[in-house]
Structure formats: structure tokens, C-alpha cells
């Protein structure tokens, strides 16, 4: 409480240096010029650091803290659920992919067989002399189906003659 007696007022008016020494300890820049440091001796400006670190006092703040914790848990639960869903989707994708692969493999079987037969044909041709490729010779099936027996007789006679001539 400020002393408002006449001698004290007089002393403040005529002895300002004493008062200034007092006001210089305050962090209020307006204390000396405006209010002379008589009324506002305390630091009325709040520090900016105080707002960033609120103290958890009171039921409202405690309930806010609990709510924030429960919110974190919900978000964490959602995160886990999303991970689980992602895993399920990944598993389904893998299963579907495997089924597709099996389908592809089945559908490619005929192609593989054709490629195999083509390879065998090429291999057979490569191992056959050129002269035999262009003249396949006489097959037994061809002779077995012959109806003109005169032709068949001539065919056998000619080839037997060739063999006997070479022997």
C-alpha cells in the first residue's frame, strides 16, 4: 500500500533521485516516465516463456491431459488398424498374384509343348543330312497303303537291284 501522507508526497516531488533508484530495479520501461514507479512497482508483463510451459494445475487441465492421452491412444489404434488392413491387403494381393501366376503357367503349357516340339524338330533337322531333308525316301506306311501292286513290285525290284549292285 502506498504511503499518501503529505511529507512523503513532498519528499517524492523534491527528491526524485531516491525514487529513481527504486524504479530502476523494475523491468517496466514505463515505470520511471509515466507512473513514476509509485503504483506499478511489480512487473506486470508476462514472460513469453511462461505460456509455452503451462503448469498442470486444476481439474480442467487434468481432464484436458487425460483427453489428449486418450486421443493419442485412439490415433495409435487407428494407426495399428491401418497397418493391419494394409497387411491384409498385401496378403490378398500376394494370394491373387499367386493365383494369377498359376493361371499364367497353365495357360503357357501348350506354348511350352509347342516350343519343345519345335526345338525337337529343329534338332532332328540339324542332325539330318541335307540330301535326306529334301528327299524323304520311301516310308513303310506309304507302301502299306499302295493299291497299284505293279508299282509296288517295280519299286521293290529297283531298290533291291540298287542294293545288290552296291553289295
Amino acid at each position: 500500500m502506498a504511503n499518501l501522507s503529505i511529507p512523503s508526497i513532498r519528499e517524492r516531488i523534491f527528491n526524485t533521485s531516491k525514487h529513481e533508484q527504486t524504479t530502476q530495479r523494475s523491468s517496466n520501461p514505463f515505470a520511471a516516465s509515466s507512473f513514476k514507479g509509485n503504483v506499478l512497482t511489480a512487473d506486470v508483463f508476462e514472460s513469453s516463456t511462461k505460456q509455452s510451459h503451462p503448469a498442470f494445475t486444476g481439474k480442467l487441465k487434468a481432464s484436458a491431459l487425460v483427453g489428449s492421452i486418450s486421443g493419442i491412444g485412439e490415433r495409435f489404434q487407428n494407426f495399428i488398424n491401418s497397418v493391419v488392413k494394409f497387411g491384409i491387403r498385401a496378403k490378398e494381393s500376394v494370394v491373387n498374384g499367386w493365383n494369377k501366376l498359376e493361371g499364367i503357367e497353365i495357360s503357357f503349357n501348350p506354348l511350352r509343348e509347342k516350343m519343345s516340339s519345335a526345338y525337337n524338330s529343329v534338332k532332328e533337322i540339324m542332325s539330318t543330312p541335307i540330301s535326306e531333308i529334301f528327299s524323304k525316301g520311301i516310308s513303310s506306311k506309304q507302301v502299306a497303303k499302295m493299291e497299284d501292286m505293279t508299282e509296288a513290285r517295280a519299286l521293290l525290284a529297283d531298290n533291291v537291284a540298287l542294293w545288290e549292285a552296291a553289295a
Binding site: 507302301v143 502299306a144 521293290l156 533291291v160 540298287l162 542294293w163 553289295a167
Partner: protein, 123 residues
């Protein structure tokens, strides 16, 4: 050295005639194949006639002197006998052999037929 292509052609023609349903094919094989001077051709012809497993074709290799089981070449004769022994249905062959043993005029042919018949009975 005989060309492989000629050997293959003769082999295929003889095999084809042996499978040809026309009975004329037996006559062709008898006239050309069994009278060849080449042992291998006679052997191929005899085996084809036995595989045909018909009365006429079996008669050619069993009852004719110098052909089939009566061939001068041991290889041709033994090969023909082996083919007879390999037949699944030996009924017609046994019938021809029995007739040959009983009715053929040549003794050597009868003796050969008797021996082959004994072998076939045991097989």
C-alpha cells in the same frame, strides 16, 4: 559299302508290303525278296512274311527249299525261326508246320519243319 538310304528304302518297302492287305504283296515278296542274292534282303523278307502271319505267307518260309527256315544262310534260317517263335498267335504256323512234316516231298524240308515245330511247342 551300301548306301544307307538304299537300305532304308528296301527295309521300308519290304515292311510296307508285309502290312499291305493285298495278297499280291506276298507274291511280290516271294518273287523278289526271297530270291535276292543279298542275305540281309532275304532275312528282311522272311521276317516280314512271318509277321504277316497268314497261311500263304507262312507257307513261303516253311515249305520252300532254300527259303525261310530252309535257307542256306544260317543267319536267315535262324532269324526266321526266331520270328516264328515270337508270334503271339502260333495257330496258323503250327498248322503249316504240321502239314509240311506230314505231306512235304523233300525229307530235309520235313526235318526242318519237325524241329521248328518242336521248338514252337516248347515255347
Amino acid at each position: 559299302m551300301t548306301d544307307k538310304k538304299i537300305i532304308k528304302n528296301v527295309t521300308n518297302i519290304i515292311e510296307g508290303l508285309g502290312q499291305n492287305p493285298n495278297s499280291e504283296s506276298v507274291t511280290i515278296l516271294e518273287d523278289i525278296g526271297t530270291n535276292s542274292k543279298v542275305d540281309a534282303i532275304r532275312e528282311l523278307t522272311s521276317r516280314a512274311l512271318v509277321k504277316r502271319n497268314e497261311h500263304d505267307s507262312l507257307k513261303v518260309v516253311i515249305t520252300n527249299k532254300g527259303k525261310g527256315i530252309n535257307d542256306m544262310s544260317t543267319i536267315v534260317a535262324m532269324s526266321t525261326i526266331n520270328e516264328l517263335l515270337s508270334l503271339e498267335d502260333k495257330t496258323e504256323a503250327m498248322k503249316v508246320l504240321t502239314d509240311t512234316v506230314e505231306k512235304h516231298s523233300d525229307e530235309e524240308v520235313r526235318d526242318n519243319a519237325r524241329s521248328v515245330k518242336a521248338l514252337m511247342a516248347l515255347s
